[in-house]
């Protein structure tokens, strides 16, 4: 009872006893059955002994050892803390508890492989994990949460770590595949057996079969032109709609809204025919022109931003004799840096990843493909086995500059996004 009355600076001892209890339960659970194998029950220490004495060795044994050691260590630390609690001790305990949880969690993913490698059983499923394992796992988790409360650490870290792993998993997979030496779509393992740069080289050397360099260049040209032209159009449109009042302004905005409610590619076939009529079909020019033609539809966000710039600035400039055009160029644009970046980034990304229109426009003309169409073409079921690693390499090459750009300019993007809600 005396423990609850103690106070230690920097710690919150309200949950201390519960944490100790959970930590001890986890340690006790180590002696309970961990797996059921052919009617036989084994605890974690028992499994370690059996695996060490067995003829076949397995690389996974260090997971078992780690789980056992860290669970025991954190239980021991929790007992020491009962006697004398201090901030550094609590932090070490927390780290041990986190490691214990991580190792116990990894056991869930590795037990089957471990038993298989050791030649014990081949058809083990996680539903055969024993009650001792689940008790250890759950109480270790509870102990970690409670210890984090004692050290006043935000419990959100646990959630963020788990979510972060899930979110990065597919990305990690595609990066690993891009460097994978073994070709083919189907491989029975996550980490490649050999690493190579050939996938990247093949993309740029094998031009007759796979004109990736051409695709990349096509996309870059279109995206660069589009983002300049579209940005100018969007900024001009939203400036006029935000800062000036003229007959038909409301009507124009309503018409744009109504047009926007039709699914965009419903009319692609007609656009295609019109392009054919002016002789622009199957050319990159068509992508730029059509993109620019529809750009004004995306005026909302920047209009919302221009609305927030005080009107008094404009009025002062008008009194000084500036024309509207001068105000736009010399007053409004310099104030709208973040929205310019947002618009440029947005139109660059949109062109870069547009698939439907280019795929319809170019059909079989592979030399005009953009990366989106080309990479999709590579994952066709006829080609996926041959080109999967190249596809992964291409995906990395395409995504990397954008990711860097995006992370670098994230701030502007956030401002634009929150602007879109207000606007």
């Amino acid at each position: 009872m005396s423990v609850t009355h103690k106070t230690v600076i920097g710690l919150n001892l309200k949950n201390h006893l519960k944490a100790v209890a959970a930590s001890l339960v986890a340690a006790v659970a180590l002696t309970l059955p961990y797996i059921h194998v052919s009617g036989e029950k084994k605890s974690i220490p028992g499994a370690i002994v059996q695996l060490l004495s067995g003829s076949e060795s397995t690389a996974f044994i260090w997971l078992l050892v780690g789980a056992a050691i860290f669970t025991a260590v954190s239980a021991a630390l929790s007992l020491i803390g009962m006697v004398k609690m201090s901030k550094p001790l609590a932090c070490i305990w927390q780290a041990a508890q986190a490691l214990s949880l991580i190792f116990l969690g990894l056991l869930m993913f590795s037990t089957r492989m471990m038993l298989k490698e050791a030649g014990i059983t081949d058809n083990f499923l996680n539903k055969d994990l024993g009650a001792g394992y689940w008790l250890a796992f759950v109480s270790s988790f509870a102990a970690l949460v409670l210890v984090m409360k004692v050290t006043k650490t935000n419990v959100g870290y646990i959630a963020l770590t788990i979510l972060g792993v899930i979110w990065l998993f597919p990305i990690l997979w595609i990066v690993l595949t891009a460097f994978r030496a073994e070709q083919g779509y189907y491989v029975g393992y996550f980490i490649p057996k050999g690493f190579t740069l050939d996938n990247f080289k093949n993309l740029f050397t094998n031009q007759s079969v796979l004109p990736f360099a051409k695709w990349w260049l096509n996309t870059l040209i279109v995206a660069a032109c589009s983002c300049v032209i579209n940005t100018l159009i969007i900024l001009a449109t939203s400036y006029v709609l935000s800062r000036t009042r003229f007959a038909g302004r409301k009507a124009f905005m309503n018409i744009l809204m109504i047009i926007g409610m039709f699914p965009g590619f419903m009319s692609l076939i007609a656009v295609y025919n019109i392009l054919k009529g002016i002789g622009l079909n199957q050319s990159l020019m068509a992508l730029i022109v059509v993109g620019a033609a529809g750009a004004a539809m995306g005026y909302h966000v920047s209009k919302g931003f221009f609305d927030t710039i005080p009107k008094a600035i404009d009025e002062a400039a008008i009194i000084d004799g500036a024309s509207r055009l001068q105000i736009f160029i010399h007053v409004t644009l310099p104030l709208a840096k973040s929205i310019i970046v947002y618009t440029v980034l947005g139109s660059f990304l949109a062109t870069w990843s547009d698939y439907i229109f280019p795929s319809m426009l170019f059909g079989d003309k592979q030399s005009s493909y953009t990366v989106a169409v080309g990479l999709y073409w590579l994952t066709d079921f006829k080609r996926i086995d041959t080109y999967y690693t190249q596809f992964a390499a291409g995906a990395v090459i395409v995504a990397l500059p954008i990711v860097i750009l995006f992370i670098w300019l994230q701030r502007f993007y956030v401002e634009g996004l929150s602007g879109s809600v207000k606007g």
């Binding site: 979110w167 159009i233 001009a236 590619f265 055009l325």
Partner: protein, 453 residues
């Protein structure tokens, strides 16, 4: 003086105007010439003449042909002078419809010119009556950089939208009232007007089409709501965790999640799609890890596939909401939380009573526009499942995860049933319009309230 300053609209300009004003309805620019703007008036006249010439030469014919969409089918005719059969060029219904629409849009511009010239002439007349000198042509050009900047800035967008958005849209809308399906493909065959028949077959016909349409619509609605709200709440919770006190390196955590957002959707979706395949890495790992002893049908079983697309969309959509919500969360006054804390509210109560109502209030328009864009969310479905698993219950090509938009796309691209595609497009428009109207009435209602303070 007083009479001159009163504003005249397009009707009163005619009824109250002098003979020149009246005549300028027929001869554009006459009023401008009369009032000293000779060059401007002549330009109006020239444009009018150009339109009339166009209408006489081709436009009138184009419009007349639209009535039937062509009568002579392409076929073999006997050429008596040569004594052989040769292919006779028939009418091409598609081109007839297209040129008809072009003519309609040009006529629309002509009507705009009519309005513009009348207003312009009236302005010149009023200026003269007031004793001011009407603008010279050079001054008119200069005004483009100033009070008439909207003409300068909007000319390109209006032109672009007219040619590449409005014109194709009218064309496709008209197509919903024809029988331009796979059996009526020009140039070999003609298609013609059928009125509302497509709508009836799609909505209430007893055959496959109606049996496809309603389930696809149902799934589209389920998908829209599930995708929108899962991402909304997921993103909100994630943003709250990252923004909560005591989390260090907020930027680092945010960046981890933003990476998925920065990768172009077609790449991440294609990658995930290959990962979810029967021999994909997810199935390999799950079997290796001992979670299952057979491959799971992530994309091949109806229910699995539907859940998978919603989950993958969650993976892609949560970071967007997270970024957006982060900005708003910082705007919630901190005193609210402090006073709630003093009153003894726990974190859950604070979320329920402060954070959520605030967010809901600020983001309602965003949610509704997000809902509409999710109904039309082509990418996740097309790149992940391509609408599959296919089913025999549906009209050919449509699958169990197909949304209305992806079905529309398949109808245009694979089976050439343009009339059905156009009909579906119009139905999608109606659905979007309904949701937008609801959104408008709601946001108006909220503007009237004091709202969340």
């Amino acid at each position: 003086m007083k009479a001159a300053t009163t504003k005249r609209n397009i009707l009163t300009t005619f009824t109250k105007g002098d003979i020149f004003s009246k005549l300028s309805y027929i001869l554009f620019g006459l009023s401008n010439i009369r009032n000293g703007q000779v060059l401007k008036g002549l330009i109006f006249m020239a444009l009018e003449a150009l339109y009339l010439v166009f209408m006489i030469l081709t436009g009138g014919h184009n419009l007349a042909m639209m009535r039937t969409l062509g009568t002579s089918t392409q076929g073999m005719t006997f050429n008596e002078s040569l004594g052989i059969y040769e292919v006779s060029q028939g009418d091409n219904s598609m081109l007839i419809l297209l040129s008809g629409v072009v003519t309609l849009v040009i006529t629309g511009f002509f009507l705009a010119l009519l309005l513009f010239s009348v207003y312009s002439g009236e302005a010149a007349r009023q200026a003269k009556e007031l004793g001011r000198r009407p603008n010279t042509f050079l001054e008119d050009i200069k005004s483009l950089a100033n009070e008439n900047i909207h003409f300068l800035f909007l000319s390109v967008p209006v032109l672009g939208l007219s040619i590449f958005t409005v014109m194709p849209l009218i064309y496709m809308i008209l197509m919903a009232f024809t029988n331009y399906d796979q059996d009526h493909q020009p140039p070999g065959n003609l298609f013609t007007w059928v009125g509302l028949k497509n709508f009836f077959t799609l909505l209430s016909g007893g055959d496959r089409l109606a049996a496809t349409f309603w389930p696809v619509l149902g799934w589209t609605l389920i998908w829209g709501f599930a995708a929108t709200f899962s991402c909304y709440f997921g993103g909100m919770i994630l943003a709250m965790i990252i923004n909560s006190k005591g989390i260090k390196h907020k930027k680092f955590w945010r960046t981890i999640f933003v990476i998925t957002m920065a990768i172009p959707a077609f790449i991440s979706l294609r990658v995930v799609s290959t990962m979810l395949g029967e021999r994909g890495i997810f199935n390999v790992l799950l079997q290796q890890w001992g979670f299952t002893d057979h491959a799971l049908p992530f994309l091949s079983n109806i229910t699995w596939a539907r859940v998978s697309v919603i989950l993958v969309n969650f993976w892609i959509g949560v970071p967007v909401t997270m970024l957006m919500v982060s900005g708003i969360l910082m705007n919630i006054p901190g005193e609210l939380y402090e006073s709630a804390k003093i009153d003894g509210a726990g974190p859950f109560t604070m979320f329920r009573k402060i954070t959520f109502p605030y967010m809901w209030f600020v983001t309602t328009p965003y949610i509704i526009s997000n809902l509409i864009s999710n109904f039309n969310n082509f990418n996740p479905i097309y790149f992940l499942t391509g609408g599959e698993p296919l089913t025999l219950d549906y009209y050919k090509g449509a699958g169990k995860t197909d949304l209305l938009v992806t079905w529309l796309y398949k109808l245009t691209k694979d089976s050439n049933d343009y009339n059905l595609a156009a009909t579906i497009g119009i139905i999608i428009f109606v659905i979007s319009a309904i949701f937008t109207l609801v959104s408008f009435s709601r946001s108006n209602a909220m503007k009237n309230e004091e709202g969340f303070q």
